[in-house]
Amino acid sequence: MSITADLIRGHTDAIILAALMQGDSYGYRINRSMCDLTDGRFELKEATLYTAFRRLEESGYIRSYWGDEATGARRRYYAITPDGRSAYRGMVREWREASELLEKLMRFGSDGDVSGAEQI
């Protein structure tokens, strides 16, 4: 549980950018989509979400704007920028490389059987 949370925490920015690759969205909708996608197993705290929004906006990876009230409730929307798309692709590459390495390292101790690692 704690390892899972740690792993996920390290990729908060990538997860948010991934959600915004689908289109502009706002805080709750992004969190809700993460929750739905993982069958309720993962959801960011609002504090983490807004801290990440702020960090990503300062980095130029996303931009925000207030939605038109005429289309419904007033919302602060976030949109991914070209720099953000590029950063997202880089993060995905890094993650694939890291997960491939981890997979090999984990299997190393369990003779090809990952579940065996839990018995060590």
């Binding site: 704690s2 309720g40 197993r41 959801e43 983490t48 702020r54």
Partner: protein
């Protein structure tokens, strides 16, 4: 119950707003949090949760916003905001009183394996680990906060590390070139112009990094 939710969020921001009145960014953050939390509450109720349970889940989902308030409002607001009790009714029952408190510093920021929407299961299983996680969090975000403080003080974004590196390289090269050319040509009266060129090169680098920012 929605009023209670609003009061809880108002309470979270009260100290920061008192310290930093008329802060547009703070007001926008509060509005954003209010709207999103209300929508979450509505969804939870629509999904069949009782108003009380929906309130608990919505409040638990906010987490510890003290660092965020510190970054947005600046100054030492967050330390006090984190321990202030929001103006909210916490007397419904024992468990409610527990969950209606503002989030504690030790509360994990990320919930996984159904810790949030389904309730609070599993959030406190690994107390020691979670404390360590929070320390890590503080370390991770410390640099961001320093940058934010610098930004707040100067009114402009902090210079990047890359600019500092490039600037260092420029001045090292200029200094070496100055001594090399001066000793080779003995034209000490002219070679000082290299420093003017260094200033120009440094400013060009600075402009490039500012534009990129």
């Amino acid at each position: 119950m929605k009023d209670r939710l609003d009061a809880y969020i108002q309470g979270l921001f009260a100290e920061a707003e008192r310290r930093s009145p008329a802060n547009r960014r703070l007001a926008e953050l509060k509005e954003e949090l209010l709207l999103n939390t209300r929508e979450k509450y509505d969804d939870l109720v629509a999904m069949g949760k009782s108003p009380e349970a929906a309130y608990r889940v919505a409040v638990d989902g906010i987490g510890d916003i003290s660092e965020l308030l510190k970054a947005v409002a600046g100054g030492a607001v967050a330390d006090e905001a984190a321990v202030d009790t929001p103006a909210v009714d916490t007397t419904a029952d024992g468990e409610d009183a527990d969950t209606a408190r503002p989030p504690m510093a030790q509360e994990p920021e990320v919930s996984a394996n159904g810790a949030n929407r389904g309730g609070r299961d599993g959030e406190n299983d690994d107390g020691d680990d979670e404390n360590n996680e929070d320390e890590d969090d503080e370390n991770d975000e410390g640099e961001d906060n320093e940058n934010a403080d610098e930004e707040a003080r100067s009114g402009r974004p902090p210079r990047s590390r890359w600019y500092a590196l490039v600037s260092g390289i420029i001045w090292t090269v200029i200094l070496c070139a100055y001594f090399f050319v001066s000793f080779e040509t003995h034209a000490w009266g002219v070679t000082w112009i290299l420093f003017i060129m260094g200033i120009a090169a440094d400013n060009v680098a600075k402009c490039i990094f500012d534009l990129r920012r």
